[in-house]
């Protein structure tokens, strides 16, 4: 079990179903839903609970539609929000 | 005979080609035709429509504001063009995409769920052909064989194997409109 736990919220009305987040997720947590949103796109949903909060999905989302949460076991946020730009590349395998 | 039509829907639903097929086939029957698309920054979806006029006589204005027939493939199109049907005219809409159906009483209104039907036929792209068939049932202004001829011109060569499917879709549309007419 990872020391870091993550979660995401997808703004499904923003989503255009491009699936880039699916491809970007190292945990394979995401998949296309079978619903269309108001814009008519098959939006994306989280299908597994293994999210590490790596932010990859959010970073590649052209619609800015994903919010990422993250917590270490100690309860401290692993990385400050302002720092996501400078965070290490190996964060994805950090579990 | 002069038939003034507008076909409207989302970009990608194939409204432009519906009008084109009518014009090509009208031409085969030596009719005067004109096709006028709405055009916009194409890449970014949105709505699309085209006006098509098929006539035995010279067409003056290719741009008109009242139509003999409106074919609406989504809700915004119904909302926008219902009032533009000439009294006594015809409004055909795609029922799957339209939650609030049109309400005028001085025109003939028929809705068919061509989307579902197309899904059943395993090719969602032919929804528009079902609608076109529906229109032709009510307004048989062009012979089916010429419609198929027109279709050939619009469809890129590499899709010509789909012509039978399209024909089927046209026929299915006709049936659906016939059924719907019986109901109403």
């Amino acid at each position: 079990m990872a020391k870091v736990k993550g979660d995401i919220i997808i703004d499904i009305e923003k989503c255009k179903g491009c699936e880039l987040c699916i491809e970007a997720c190292p945990q394979d947590s995401l998949e296309r839903s079978r619903q269309v949103n108001n814009k008519g796109y098959l939006y994306i949903v989280k299908v597994l609970d293994n999210c590490t909060g790596c932010t990859n999905c959010a970073l590649v989302c052209p619609e800015g539609g994903i919010t990422v949460y993250r917590k270490t076991e100690t309860g401290k946020k692993q990385i400050a929000k302002i720092d996501n730009v400078t965070q290490d590349m190996n964060i994805e395998v950090n579990e | 005979m002069t038939e003034e039509i507008i076909i409207a829907g989302f970009g990608g639903q194939g409204v432009l080609s519906m009008g084109m097929i009518l014009c090509y086939s009208g031409m085969i029957e030596n009719k005067e035709v004109s096709w006028m698309p709405s055009y916009g920054p194409e890449m970014r979806g949105g709505t699309a429509n085209c006006m098509a006029i098929i006539s035995d006589t010279k067409i003056s204005s290719p741009i008109i504001s009242k139509y003999d027939t409106v074919i609406a493939l989504n809700q915004p199109s119904v909302d926008k063009f219902e009032k533009a049907v000439k009294p006594g005219g015809f409004l055909l809409y795609e029922a799957n995409n339209v939650i609030h159906p049109p309400t005028r009483t001085d025109i003939e209104i028929i809705g068919i769920d061509a989307t579902k039907e197309a899904a059943k036929m395993k090719n969602t792209k032919i929804m528009n052909m079902i609608m076109l068939g529906g229109f032709l049932k009510k307004k048989p202004i062009i012979e089916m064989k010429n419609i198929l001829e027109g279709l050939k011109q619009v469809l890129p060569e590499r899709y010509h194997h789909l012509i039978p499917l399209n024909e089927q879709a046209l026929k299915r549309g006709m049936e659906m409109v016939e059924e719907a007419s019986l109901v109403s």
Binding site: D7, K16, C18, E19, R34, V60, Y69, K71 | G45
Partner: protein, 275 residues
């Protein structure tokens, strides 16, 4: 398109398997949409890199807390409506003339941050003269140059950066170098000019690249504060619609075809690290 009828039921169930955890709480947020990115739909096609770059600009502005000090210029091109998405003062500009407009702004507002956001058609075709001379004068502005190898907005014509052999509506048989010239590496050209200070090529087609691109953008703004001269960031990007690919395909294609010709990385870096 409304594809409601398309979905078959069998795949549905697993979409319900995942549940939200207790960590969904403001204090645990590690990533959210930046405030400077306005909360409305963007008109870009699904998967288009423009959206990502917009967001990165907004993130950097938020992080540097300079929203009130930034003025942007976006000329015609798919991103012409950028002023609807970025919550900062912006100017649209005529095709190719963003850097001239940005020069005008910066010269009378030297204390503000000024950036131009330009497509490859804009910056490297019709705007070539303005690009070269703005860089040569070393205007203290930041260029964000979105190279998608195509004229996106007008429907997929050949751009100066279109790859050899690549098809477009105006190179239907593929770009023929003999008659149309080779794809133009304008970034390498302007890096030669003494007026440019920091020149780099980035992409946003993977999360890692997004991180790097953001760093570059931040550097660009920071150097501007120090009046170092022109900073120029090329972002190799995609155009799924006109490349006629899905977004995922387009990013792979970008990786496999664009990047070998337009290699990522810094092209000109400050000698002393910009200090």
């Amino acid at each position: 398109m409304n594809e409601r009828a398309l979905i078959d039921d069998e795949h549905y169930e697993h979409t319900l398997r995942a549940e939200h955890t207790e960590i969904i709480d403001r204090e645990n947020i590690v990533y959210e949409k930046p405030g400077t990115l306005i909360d409305i739909d963007m008109h870009y096609c699904p998967g288009c890199g423009h959206g990502v770059v917009h967001r990165l600009i907004a993130e950097v502005i938020d992080e540097m807390e300079i929203q009130s000090e930034v003025i942007g210029v976006a000329p015609v091109g798919c991103s012409v409506l950028a002023y609807n998405y970025l919550n900062i003062d912006m100017s649209e500009a005529a095709h190719g003339r963003a850097s001239a407009a940005a020069t005008g702004i910066k010269r009378v507002m030297p204390e503000k941050y000024v950036f131009s956001y330009q497509g490859d058609g804009d910056l490297a075709a019709i705007g070539t003269g303005e690009t070269i001379h703005t860089c040569n004068r070393g205007e203290n502005i930041l260029f964000l140059f979105i190279n998608n190898g195509i004229y996106g907005m007008t429907g997929g014509q050949m751009a100066p950066t279109t790859l050899e052999g690549m098809k477009s509506t105006t190179s239907p048989f593929g770009r023929d170098v003999a008659t149309m010239g080779a794809p133009l590496k304008i970034t390498e050209l302007i890096a030669q000019l003494p007026g440019t200070y920091y020149v780099t090529r980035q992409s946003v087609h993977t999360a890692n690249n997004v991180r790097k691109a953001k760093k570059a953008i931040r550097k660009g703004f920071e150097y501007q504060k120090l009046n170092k001269g022109t900073c120029f960031i090329e972002i190799v990007s995609n155009c799924p619609s006109n490349w006629k690919m899905t977004p995922i395909e387009s990013n792979h294609w970008l990786n496999d075809n664009m990047l070998p010709f337009y290699p990522l990385g810094d092209i000109k870096v400050p000698k002393n690290g910009g200090k």
